[in-house]
């Protein structure tokens, strides 16, 4: 710590409040200019999947529909993630401005914030902020309006098609893709679904220009990103850092000197053991050397006092409960993985049964309907392969 400190960035939480000036500036420019700025900035979705934001808005603006919608995905449920809550607490006006900009570009009159039930306490202050924002919009003669839609406790609703099912009054079960929301989203109409942080970054890009954002980060991973840091660290919290950092530098900065593994991207992400800290970089897949891991911002650090068996078991219990149950690979797979590692630990199954379970995760990766079932393989294989002895003894 100290000499190896990573550079702290201060863009998202920067104290800027001039919604009216920025909106006026946005409304005066052409859609093409705005989209070019977004694409030029290199901004990719900050929920974890990393779809280029400018392209998403462009596709939706070109799609045909009776109405169009902007949805801010505030169903932040990935274990270890808590940055969106902080954005909505400290700088909600930046998110609202991002939504209004998107609405103007794609031609939507209505925006929703899908807020998870676990964050219900944010509703009163957020509603007040929306009311003030609507006044600003009225002055600028914009008829874009934003509503809060509450979730009811379902991790899977962070998946965009499950989120829209939920908004339509159904069980939050993911849809088949295609069609993608850019063509057929909420109520079958073209819809942009963006993560809270993604929308907040739009503020920076439209206020300060795409260069300021693009100058941060490396290669295909541009800009800064909020990281939710927890676990065995003396300094847990939310930090804005540049993309592209090596995991070794991260651990030198935030670890407690005894870090044995970092879970990058939450339960759906990858567990990186100490011996791979140096070769692992945090960013989107691209031209980074070595392994590059994307993340929605969840960084959980484990020190040598932790049993990785307990960690994996906790994840599997999580997935078993949160699987929507719609497709068999995920519904049954999650149950069998959990039972499987318990049986190996008890000694009811031989150690090579783990290999069979690894094959099951491969099947889930190929056949599960949505990201939930597909990504169970990430944490499972990275923990079982790197901490095999802890699974058995």
């Amino acid at each position: 710590m100290g000499k190896n400190m990573l550079k702290r960035i201060d863009l998202i939480f920067k104290n800027e409040h001039d919604c009216d000036i920025i909106l006026e500036k946005i409304f005066k420019r052409t859609n093409e200019e705005l989209i070019n700025d977004l694409i030029g900035s290199g901004l990719k979705g900050r929920g974890g999947a990393g779809f280029p934001t400018g392209l998403k808005w462009k596709l939706t603006s070109e799609a045909k529909g009776e109405a169009k919608y902007v949805i801010c995905n505030a169903d932040e449920g990935e274990p270890g993630t808590f940055k969106d809550r902080e954005i909505l607490t400290q700088v909600p006006h930046k998110v609202l401005t991002g939504m209004a900009a998107c609405g103007r570009i794609i031609g939507a009159k209505k925006g929703f914030i899908y807020l998870r039930a676990e964050y219900n306490y944010l509703k009163p202050s957020l509603q007040k902020e929306i009311d003030t924002f609507h006044e600003t919009l009225k002055k600028l003669k914009s008829d874009f309006r934003i509503e809060i839609f509450s979730g009811s406790g379902a991790y899977i609703c962070g998946e965009e098609s499950a989120l829209m099912e939920s908004m339509e009054g159904h069980r939050g079960e993911p849809r088949n893709k295609p069609p993608f929301p850019t063509d057929a989203g909420y109520l079958g109409q073209p819809t942009v679904v963006n993560n809270v942080e993604t929308l907040a970054h739009c503020w920076t890009i439209f206020k300060h220009g795409p260069k300021k954002f693009r100058d941060l980060g490396v290669q295909d991973s541009r800009g800064s990103k909020l990281f939710s840091i927890s676990g065995d660290t003396p300094t847990p919290g939310i930090y804005e850092l540049e993309l592209g950092m090596s995991l070794q530098d991260f651990v030198d900065d935030f670890g407690d000197g005894d870090s044995k593994a970092v879970q990058v991207g939450g339960a759906a992400g990858f567990c990186v053991p100490r011996k791979k800290f140096r070769e692992t970089a945090i960013g989107y897949q691209g031209k980074l050397t070595g392994i590059s891991l994307p993340t929605g911002g969840s960084m959980m650090i484990f020190n040598s006092s932790r049993s990785m068996y307990n960690v994996l078991k906790n994840y599997l219990e999580f997935f078993e409960e949160e699987s929507c149950g719609q497709c068999t690979p995920c519904r049954v797979g999650c149950q069998q993985l959990l039972r499987g590692i318990e049986a190996v630990k008890r000694g009811d199954k031989p150690h090579y049964y783990l290999t069979k379970l690894l094959r099951l995760t491969e099947t889930m990766k190929m056949t599960a309907k949505c990201g939930l079932g597909q990504s169970v393989a990430n944490s499972f294989s990275s923990i079982v392969e790197n901490f095999r002895e802890e699974m058995i003894y």
Partner: protein, 154 residues
Amino acid sequence: MTDIQELVGGLVKKFGHKRENLLPVLQGIIEKERSLSDFAMVEVAKQMGISAADVYGTATFYSFMDTEPRGRYVIRVCKTITCFMKGKNQILLALEDSLKVKLGETTPDRRFTLLETNCLGWCHKAPAMLINDEIFTELTIEKVHEIIGEYKNK
């Protein structure tokens, strides 16, 4: 008309009859009643023109839409990894001790229900719990007894 019928009527009037208003209507009932009774769900079905099975199927998908009777204060202790690492089991024991119920149970006076839940988004201030919509973080055993003491006097 019973109280529930009136409540449902008011909510349907406020949000509308369309299917996309189902969640807000059910959430409105939860806010008042803390859980969804069979009677309430059938009433929603009647008033919104949806089948009762559809209402039940949708409600039971969501972990915050309880169909079992619940106490006035529903306590949800986070059990996901960081809270687990930072001692959520001790917090749970302290709650069981203070409320004299086991996990999943409701106190006989119907004031408290003790549940676990998945990640609450306070991993940097673990362990955490919700009581209805109020959040409590960096819990200790002493803090738990203090909080429950205050709620008992509410």
